[in-house]
């Protein structure tokens, strides 16, 4: 444990600092677009803020958190020092420098292209180069995770890789596969356009390449939460993991099916035919499977814990669970948000219904709920769990932690549920100010204010979160850390190589990507889109 504390803390502090600033920006944005702030600010300021908010939340909070957590797992689960630590620090600095490089043009108004940066709207080249650096730094992390697992397997032939490391490496491999899309788009299309080397962009191709990344990236963000469900929550609840095998299968299914489905983000786009869209919708059906399996397995694991604590009856075990522990509380709240968010996801997948909600506030609601809600609340819980071990201190009291988690849950529900409703009524996205004089839009005003109130609660929760971590640095020393990772009911002695490594699954991913994205991308080589002139935001 001794050699990665600073590395982990560095990553996590960058992640949470970016997160806090982004929360402030998000709250300002909600105010400005509500009837309360109708004349405040300008569209330029608003879209600058949206770009900064999106980049911080989607690319920095997530990537840095996942890297920090991954280094922690690699050392604690495998009980060996991290291989290639200087490389890890290199990756950190690349990411941090890249983030700063991206933020400067944003703040100067030269990169108001949002975090999805759809060309032909093109900002300063430094913005994109900065983001490429962040991604490249994270690739170093991916390699180190794979190397750590490989070295452990060599030293422990025939033994199953601890589930938590297996999940982390699955996520690393997922990230390597998925960033190929956005990296290609940036390196071969957007950055040359931003540098003025080319004057046109093939927009159909750029949207398709971005869609390659767009779905699996949200699973990259989500997988640490699932990792916590399988490996931290059962132990925190005082129980056991119901099935280690299903845990491995879940992460494998995510690796397989979160990649070849990106075109479901392009269901309303004119550059692909119905056939390819249908194939990817079918595959999207299968990416719901691991989530649904997880609900059962983790509920069963919780039931074990509840009954061990004396819970009786069909549902009595629920009340018997140690809800005073932040990890358990967060898991319960995450499951509620996962229910709502996952249901929304099923709606998005069916293109008939997608037509009602595409690019409306429903979409904003969906990803704030499922990512900002389920995933990020587990990031909080993971941070609360590992921070004591990283700092050698313990929380003086768990009450502020629980308060912060509850505030996040309540704020998220109050913010996103009205948005779902507004989206169904046609409120559209990425608007700096609405014309509340219009009769249709006027009816939306009160609900926008309600969700703004939710946003304020979230801001309070975010500030409390940072305070809780800060305070830990000056808290009493940690007495004896209790065991962290859950044991399965039947800890495996031997697992098939297929459940202990990723050789087979990488081959299948390659096949799936070829079948799902082969023609959609090849068609641009055969019949390129008539190119669009670059519109420079400077």
């Amino acid at each position: 444990m001794r050699n990665v504390e600073r590395l982990c803390l560095a990553h996590l502090w960058v992640a949470f600092t970016a997160f806090t600033v982004a929360c402030v920006l998000g709250t300002w944005q909600m105010w400005v677009r509500s009837p309360l702030g109708a004349k405040v600010g300008t569209p330029s300021l608003y879209f600058m803020s949206v770009t900064a908010h999106g980049v911080s939340m989607a690319y920095v909070l997530t990537t840095f958190f996942i890297m920090g957590f991954g280094y922690f797992v690699a050392v604690t689960a495998l009980n060996r020092p991290l291989p290639g630590k200087p490389w890890a620090w290199l990756g950190f600095w690349m990411g941090l420098i890249g983030f700063v490089m991206a933020v400067i043009p944003i703040v100067m108004g030269q990169a108001s292209v949002l975090y999805t940066f759809y060309p032909p709207l093109t900002g300063s080249a430094w913005f994109y180069i900065g983001l490429v650096l962040v991604v490249a730094g994270s690739w170093i992390w991916c390699v180190l995770m794979i190397v750590a697992m490989a070295e452990w397997k060599r030293e422990n032939p025939g033994r199953p890789v601890p589930l938590v490391m297996f999940a982390t490496v699955a996520n690393a491999i997922l990230w390597l596969w998925t960033t190929a899309g956005v990296a290609t788009e940036l390196l071969f299309q957007v950055i040359p356009a931003a540098l003025g080397l080319v004057q046109t962009v093939d927009v159909g191709l750029s949207r398709t390449l971005f869609s390659w990344t767009l779905h699996a990236i949200v699973y990259f963000w989500l997988l640490p939460a699932y990792t916590a469900f399988y490996t931290l929550v059962p132990r925190a609840a005082g129980g056991r993991l119901y099935s280690d095998t299903m845990g491995r299968l879940t992460f494998i299914l995510f690796l397989l099916y979160s990649l070849p489905v990106g075109i479901h983000h392009l269901l309303m786009d004119p550059e692909h035919g119905t056939g390819m869209k249908f194939i990817q919708v079918l595959l999207t059906g299968f990416v719901t499977v691991p989530t649904l399996l997880t609900i059962f397995t983790i509920s069963a694991s919780m039931e074990i814990a509840g009954r061990l604590r004396g819970g009786r009856g069909v549902f009595g075990w629920i009340a018997a669970l140690p809800w005073e522990r932040p990890m358990v509380l967060a898991a319960g709240l995450a499951f509620v948000m996962l229910g709502f968010g996952g249901f929304g996801g099923l709606i998005n997948m069916a293109y008939g219904m997608n037509a009602m909600v595409h690019n409306t506030a429903w979409v904003t609601a969906h990803f704030h709920l499922i990512f900002g809600g389920s995933a990020v609340i587990m990031y909080f819980a993971i941070a609360y769990e590992i921070w004591p071990r990283l700092t050698g201190r313990e929380h003086a009291s768990l009450a502020p932690l629980r308060l912060q988690l509850w505030l996040w849950f309540v704020g998220m529900m109050v913010m996103t549920l009205p948005w779902h409703w507004l989206g169904l009524h046609g409120q559209w996205r990425r608007v700096a100010n609405f014309n509340y004089a219009d009769p249709i839009i006027a009816g939306w005003g009160p609900w926008v204010v309600v969700s703004f109130a939710g946003g304020l609660v979230l801001l309070a929760s975010a500030l409390l979160f940072v305070r809780n971590l800060f305070v830990l640095h000056r808290s009493p020393a940690l007495a004896l850390p209790r065991p962290l990772y859950a044991l399965a009911v039947h800890p495996p002695h031997r697992v098939p190589a297929a459940l202990n490594g990723f050789g087979l699954w990488n081959v299948l991913v390659a096949i799936l990507m070829l079948l799902a994205y082969g023609w959609p991308i090849a068609q641009f080589a055969i019949a390129p889109s008539p190119a669009a002139i670059v519109h420079r935001v400077q």
Partner: protein
């Protein structure tokens, strides 16, 4: 347990490899069969399309939906401006020779627009620091008759292609006069609002969204700050009446026809005073 080798990882592997591959391939091929063959063919039958066309449409090889007939159109073109922004045109502008431009300016343009682009009379626009593509487009539009002016039409007809780009680049490189915006007394709130927020009630986007330099808007949108007040008001009125019609897709005509005379006056003052 019989043979301990049976629980070795690589022995347990074989069924996994087989079944996983079979499962994945089945799913994808089922999707392909349904999405590319069965659904389009069935839909095509209802729409009166043959199977081949329906499948081609589902793959995106032919335009149209597999479930509906495709409309057709034979309207002849009647463009309002012949200028298109292709990479070739942008190259021409990027490679323009400002020395040749200056020579032509001293020969022809200086009489009304001045050597530095500061015009000699209020009805002639200032050209210093104006967007190169904007000048280029207007000269071409005068030449093709998309825009009409008693003096400029003949002048433009006498210019040939490379010189137009040279002149545009020359004037674009001339400095603006007054980097600090002059005070208007009080900045009228409704004008500032039109510039920054537009008026969604009348479907008017913010002026700044197109006309502020570096905002990523239309390529031909002219820079307005430090333009002459008279000239700006004249153009807005010409757009409003439809007399000037070389704005592609009638954007300026639509906006200007909704502005009140007071707003036209206020906006002209705002920009003439040097506000961006």
């Amino acid at each position: 347990m019989s043979d301990p080798r049976l629980s070795e990882p690589h022995v347990l592997d074989q069924p996994w490899r087989v079944w996983a591959t079979v499962a994945v391939l089945t799913i994808v091929l089922a999707g392909a069969l349904l999405g590319v063959v069965i659904i389009p063919v069935v839909q095509g039958r209802a729409a009166g399309l043959d199977a081949f066309t329906a499948i081609c449409r589902a793959l995106g090889i032919k335009p149209g939906s597999p479930a509906q007939p495709q409309p057709s159109d034979r309207t002849p073109p009647t463009p309002v401006s012949q200028v298109t922004w292709t990479p070739e045109v942008l190259q021409v502008l990027a490679r323009a020779n400002t020395e040749r431009g200056r020579a032509k300016v001293l020969e022809v343009c200086v009489a009304c627009h001045g050597e530095q682009g500061v015009s000699v009379a209020p009805e002639f626009p200032h050209l210093n620091g104006q967007s190169g593509p904007a000048i280029y487009k207007q000269l071409h539009d005068y030449q093709s008759g998309s825009r009409v002016h008693p003096l400029m039409t003949d002048i433009a007809k006498a210019l040939d292609e490379p010189v137009i780009a040279d002149v545009a680049a020359y004037y674009a490189g001339q400095p603006k006069r007054n980097p600090n915006p002059a005070t208007l007394g009080e900045l009228p709130a409704n004008i500032v609002q039109l510039v920054e927020l537009g008026d969604p009630n009348r479907n008017i986007p913010p002026c700044a969204a197109c006309h502020r330099p570096g905002v990523g808007g239309p390529i031909e949108a002219p820079i307005l700050h430090e333009q002459g007040q008279n000239y700006l008001a004249l153009q807005l009125k010409a757009y409003a009446s439809g007399e000037r019609r070389n704005d592609v897709y009638a954007r300026m005509r639509t906006i200007a026809s909704q502005l009140t005379p007071a707003e036209i006056d206020g906006l002209s003052r705002y920009y003439a005073a040097g506000f961006r």
